[in-house]
C-alpha cells in the first residue's frame, strides 16, 4: 500500500481527493479557501491596529490556520514517508521551452535555479520571489479568493464571479508565461 502511495498520484486521484477535502470542510461547517489565512496571519502580526480590514476576531479563522498547519505537515510527510525517487514526468515540450529560457529541468518539483540557495542569495532572486509573492497575495485578496476559493469552491457553486476570477488567473498566468518570463530569465 505504502509503495503505491509513494508513486506520483494520477490526476484523477488528486482531483477526487481535493473534492473530498472541500466536501469534508463543508460537513465541518466551513468553506474551503486557503488565501484567507494570509489575511489572518497579517491580523496576528498586529495589522488590525493599523487597518480596519485586518481588525477582526482571528479566532473565527483558527480552523483555517490549523488546516494550514496540517498542509505543512502533509508536505513533510510527502517528502519523507511518501517520497518518490521518480523524476517529475514533465512533458518534453515544456522541458524544451524552459531550456530556451535557460531553465534546466532537473526532475525535482521545483527548479533549483529559482529556488536554490544561489538564486535566492542574489538580489534578482530575492526580488523575483518576493515580488511574485506580493502579486499572489495582493491578487488573491483583491479577487476575494485563490485557486481553492474560486476555482474549486466557487465554480462548484456555479458562481459567475468565480468564473471571471479564474479567467483572470489564466489571463495573468499566460501573460507571465509567454511574455514576461522571457524578459526575466
Amino acid at each position: 500500500m505504502l509503495e503505491i502511495l509513494k508513486q506520483p498520484w494520477p490526476w484523477f486521484a488528486s482531483g477526487i481527493a481535493i473534492a473530498f477535502i472541500m466536501i469534508l470542510l463543508l460537513i465541518f461547517g466551513k468553506s474551503f479557501g486557503f488565501s484567507s489565512n494570509l489575511r489572518t496571519l497579517c491580523t496576528l502580526a498586529g495589522a488590525g491596529k493599523r487597518n480596519a480590514f485586518f481588525n477582526f476576531d482571528w479566532k473565527t479563522q483558527k480552523w483555517n490556520l490549523l488546516f494550514l498547519l496540517g498542509s505543512v505537515i502533509g508536505g513533510v510527510i510527502a517528502a519523507t514517508l511518501l517520497k518518490s525517487e521518480a523524476p517529475v514526468d514533465l512533458s518534453q515540450a515544456t522541458i524544451n521551452d524552459l531550456a530556451k529560457l535557460n531553465i534546466t529541468f532537473d526532475g525535482q518539483l521545483n527548479p533549483s535555479q529559482i529556488f536554490g540557495y544561489e538564486f535566492i542569495s542574489s538580489p534578482k532572486g530575492i526580488i523575483i520571489l518576493l515580488f511574485g509573492g506580493v502579486l499572489v497575495g495582493f491578487g488573491s485578496r483583491y479577487a476575494g479568493g485563490c485557486t481553492s476559493g474560486h476555482a474549486i469552491s466557487g465554480l462548484s457553486n456555479l458562481q459567475l464571479p468565480s468564473l471571471i476570477a479564474v479567467i483572470g488567473f489564466f489571463a495573468g498566468g499566460l501573460m507571465m508565461t509567454h511574455f514576461l518570463l522571457p524578459l526575466l530569465f
Partner: protein, 137 residues
C-alpha cells in the same frame, strides 16, 4: 481537541498537492503552456465532483456536523475586482509556480526558499488592506 480534524484535513491536502505534483513550478509552467492534461485533469475532476455534491447538498438541504443546514454564500456581483485581482494573481502564480496553499506545502516539503514567496504574499495582502478603499471593486 475539536481542531484536530482540521489539521488532519490539512495533512491530506498537503499530501495530495505534493504527491500529484500540483505544488511543482514545472507543472504550473506545463499548464500555462497547454502541454499536458495533468493540472486540468486535477482541477476539472475536483470541480465536476464539487458541482454534483454542492447540487445534492442544496437539493436535500443537508446539515453539517453541528446540525446546521449547509449554506452557500453568493459572491458579490461585480466583475472588476475578480478580473483585475485574478489577473494580478495569475501573474504571480506563473512566476512563483505557487498559489497560497502550495506555498506552505512546499515549505513542508523542504523548499525553504518558498518562505520568501510567503513573506511577499503577506506583504501583498497587507497592501491590499491599505489600498482597498481606493481600488475599483
Amino acid at each position: 481537541m475539536k481542531g484536530i480534524k482540521f489539521i488532519l484535513a490539512g495533512i491530506l491536502f498537503g499530501i495530495v498537492m505534493a504527491k500529484s505534483e500540483a505544488i511543482s513550478w514545472y507543472r504550473i509552467q506545463e499548464m500555462f503552456r497547454f502541454q499536458s492534461f495533468h493540472m486540468y485533469g486535477i482541477i476539472g475532476t475536483a470541480v465536476v465532483i464539487g458541482l454534483i455534491t454542492v447540487y445534492l447538498i442544496k437539493k436535500f438541504k443537508l446539515k453539517d456536523i453541528q446540525g446546521d443546514q449547509i449554506i452557500f454564500h453568493d459572491k458579490d456581483k461585480s466583475w472588476k475586482r475578480y478580473l483585475i485581482g485574478g489577473l494580478i494573481f495569475g501573474l504571480g502564480w506563473a512566476l512563483t509556480g505557487a498559489c497560497p496553499g502550495p506555498m506552505f506545502v512546499n515549505i513542508g516539503y523542504g523548499y525553504w526558499s518558498m518562505g520568501i514567496v510567503v513573506l511577499g504574499a503577506l506583504i501583498g495582502t497587507y497592501l491590499y488592506g491599505i489600498w482597498k478603499t481606493k481600488l475599483p471593486h
